[in-house]
Structure formats: structure tokens, C-alpha cells
Symmetry: C2
Subunit: 240 residues, 2 copies
DNA sequence: ATAAACCTTGTACGGCGTACAACGTAAGAT
DNA sequence: ATCTTACGTTGTACGCCGTACAAGGTTTAT
């Protein structure tokens, strides 16, 4: 383990350990590896991010990647933090907490829409990265005007971000989308037979929800509706 | 593809296609494979569920597993549906919607606490399984007393279940838990150096949240508090 | 000139999911 | 009673994966 993950996360910080001057100059840098990995994930999804493939893209052997990144698991942490670091963190200005939180939620939904592979990275060590911390700080400040102690403030932000995560998961395109029409054609009849008259409510609501899902304007509706519910739930008793 | 996933999901239904009578009697059944896989996942996590390992546990060759299950991806769907099917679905009785929804949330949190590997299975085809459909129907009925149309009812349930999912994710034990103390010992100093005086709010709130996380009573607190917020958000305007 | 530190590389190991073909077995057809 | 057909089981093999290891090359510090 030549350089610790925490130092790789903070590799752009002045106090980060530079590589010793000896030996040949590195052909690629940690940053370059992370960027290439993100391009790959953006284009083909996280499973396409393999060490061999990365080496190929970078014009370097597979094992050389490990000089800059320690392990694939570490790489995923670096990717997630870099994705957060790339988020714009616009000043909250004089907007009230409701608009602030709405903006935070929108920004996170946009991020997860552009980089759905973030939903597949679930490593607590991401919390130590500069991008993640800066984002966390910024988003906590969206709640400045609410009467929350520190623990409740963290809980409230988590609450909002978990909602966003759920919405992003629902909106994410199914990788099996192309096969589903045929599968459905084969399955619809059988499923109807199995279901018979049971679960009438589930059949009706599921059908309605499915139809709404395919309607063009619907995801927006479910999102805005749900988000307003989230905002309502944050409203302090005094304002109700 | 000898038998379709949908038929395997409904394998206990009277109308499900039985295997033809010819040939030797199968040494294991689809149900047995799924049960073994669930035991394995319960004991050692989802990555331990490999085809070779399953064959070993079942006393059968690896390839023989494919006679009963088509593919590993299909197996995961069967496991998830079986887990839902095993949930108790107690009558809602005369309880009001608030208690009903609370019970639904509690039951789901308990399920995801017992079988955290469910969080790692994300396949839309699970929705066609009998266990999943029965659960869906039951949980929709928890919202009977609320003035919601079909689409909104589905959205409301998703809202609740996504909240539960987020809570379960947070409570899930980190598989890296044993290494973290040492890593933290190595990292704490460096991180403090990197952070300096920046992000004061994040440092304070993160510290408080982290401390609360380690306190014994806290997960319960965050859960009940958040759940009440969710319930509040479902309250129709007329009742406010 | 020598030594130390560093990057790069090829090979190899043990895992994974699963395609394929050979073989055995039991029931239906004759 | 024999043959045929459908099915279950198995071993082998392919192409992936992450990565341990050791050898070799390159640069700077001594």
C-alpha cells in the first residue's frame, strides 16, 4: 500500500504527499486514472470499469493501474468523491430554506441521472473525501434557517438525500429494457392466469402506476409531488 | 431456457407447468436451490452465493444448478420474491392508517435488518413474483383510509418504502467495520491537516452525527423520528 | 560509480458465470 | 420387451475478473 486512500482522495491538496522524485516519471497519474474510469462508467456503466480495460484506455498495462490506485474498491471511492467534487455548489443567497432544499434535491437528482453508477457505489470511506465533505457542508447550510440541532440536521439532510436516491433509482433506465417487451409478451398471459381474481387492488394500482410510468410527464409529477411531501415534513411546527 | 422465470416464480401455483415425467427424478428442486441460496446469503452475504458453492451445499455439480434456475440473475429474483413471500402479512384490522403504515414500515425494516442482501438485489422482474405481489397488495391496503387515487397511492407506498430502505442501508453493518478503527487511527491526523479550518459546519455536524451513531439508543431515535415525519407528510390536508 | 527508490510489465493463481457435449435414466410408444 | 424420446447430471473448457509476485528498466541521491 504505497499511498493511503485518504492521501489519494486529497491528492490535489498542497499538504498531500507528493511521490518521491526518484524513478521514472509516471506515465499516468491517479487523477488521470479516476477520470478515465469515470468516462468509462458514464459511457458503459460500472461493470465496464475493469482494471484491464482501464489499462487499455490509458495505454498502460493492467498492473500499472495499481501503482496509482491501490485497488478497484479504492478506485470506486475516488470516482464517487470526484463526482461529488464536480457538482456546482451555488451560494444559497437569501433564498428561504424551502427553495434551498429544493435546489439541493434537484441538483442531486440531476447528478444521479447523469451518473447512475453512483447508486452502485456504497462505501463509507467516501465520506472522507474532499468533494464529499464540501458537498456535505454546502447541503447542511441549506438547512440554516431551520431550528435543528446538529444531530437532527444531519438526519434531515439524510432524509432528503435518501428520498432523492429512491427517485433516482426509480428513474434509472433498466438495463434489461430491450428484452422486457418480448418477455412481457410471453409472460402477460401466464401472469393473468396465475393471478386470477386475487389481489385486485394490487392489479389495479400496479396497472395505473405502470401506465403513469410510461406517460411522458409522469416522473416529473411523482418527483415534485414527493418532494413537496418531504419539504412539508421538514417544516417546523411553528410554521404550520 | 427450459422453464421461464415467471413459471419458476409461481412454481407453487397449481397452474404452474410441472416438469415432464420422463427422465430421472431431479435430485433437487428449484425451491431447494432457492432455500439453500437464502441460507447462504443469510450466513455469509450475497457474494457467497455462487453457483459452484450452491452445488456443493446441495450435493450436486455446479452445472446441475442451472437445470433448476436458468441463471444466477434469475436466482436472485427468486430469492428476493421468496423473502417477501416469507413476510407475515397480518390483517390491518380496525387500526387507523397511521398505525397501519407504521406497522408496514416496521416490518420492512425488520426484513431488511434480517436479510440485508435484499438491498443488493435490484431487478424489476421481482415485481412479477407471487410474494412480491401479495406484499404489494397488503401494503397498499394500509393506505385504504387515505384519500388517494391509484397513482398517488402507489407513490405514497413507494415513498414510505424508500424511506425504510434508506434507514436499513444506514443501519447495515459495514463489512469493513473491523479495519476501520486502524484506518481511522492512521487517517485522523492527516484528515485534520487537510481540513484545517474549512467546512466548520460539516466538521461539527458530522462529528455529532458520528457520535450519535455510536450511541446505543440512537438508531432507534433517528428511525422513529424520521418515520413520524413520513407519516406527517402523508396526512391529508383535511386532518391537519 | 553505486545505491536506493520508483514505475512498468508479464506471468500466474484462484475465482467467477456459463456454453457445450457426452452420458445415464426413466417413462411413453410400439 | 424393445425402442425412442425427454430429461437430469456431469466434466471440461472458455473468457472474464482482481490482483500477488518477481523481474527489469529508469531516474535521482549519495
Amino acid at each position: 500500500m504505497p499511498r493511503e486512500l485518504i492521501d489519494l482522495l486529497w491528492r490535489d491538496h498542497p499538504a498531500a504527499p507528493r511521490g518521491g522524485a526518484r524513478g521514472p516519471q509516471a506515465r499516468v497519474s491517479t487523477g488521470a486514472v479516476v477520470e478515465a474510469a469515470m468516462r468509462l462508467a458514464d459511457a458503459e456503466g460500472l461493470p465496464a470499469v475493469t482494471v484491464r480495460r482501464l489499462g487499455e484506455v490509458l495505454g498502460v498495462s493492467a498492473m500499472s493501474v495499481y501503482t496509482h490506485v491501490n485497488s478497484r474498491d479504492d478506485l470506486l471511492v475516488l470516482m464517487a468523491d470526484a463526482a461529488f467534487a464536480a457538482m456546482p455548489l451555488p451560494e444559497h443567497g437569501s433564498a428561504g430554506w424551502r427553495t434551498r432544499v429544493r435546489r439541493v434535491a434537484d441538483a442531486n437528482l440531476a447528478l444521479l441521472g447523469e451518473r447512475p453508477w453512483l447508486l452502485e457505489i456504497d462505501d463509507d470511506r467516501t465520506a472522507f473525501g474532499p468533494g464529499t465533505i464540501a458537498k456535505y457542508d454546502h447541503e447542511l447550510h441549506a438547512l440554516d434557517d431551520l431550528p435543528l440541532d446538529d444531530v437532527a440536521r444531519d438526519a434531515a439532510l439524510t432524509f432528503v438525500l435518501d428520498f432523492v436516491r429512491g427517485a433516482a433509482r426509480a428513474q434509472r433506465p433498466d438495463p434489461r429494457a430491450d428484452e422486457m417487451p418480448q418477455a412481457w409478451a410471453r409472460w402477460a398471459g401466464r401472469l393473468a392466469e396465475y393471478l386470477g381474481d386475487d389481489h385486485e387492488l394490487a392489479r389495479r394500482v400496479g396497472g395505473a402506476a405502470g401506465a403513469a410510468m410510461n406517460a411522458p410527464s409522469s416522473p416529473t409529477h411523482a418527483w415534485t409531488y414527493g418532494l413537496e411531501r418531504v419539504l412539508d415534513s421538514l417544516t417546523p411546527p411553528a410554521e404550520r
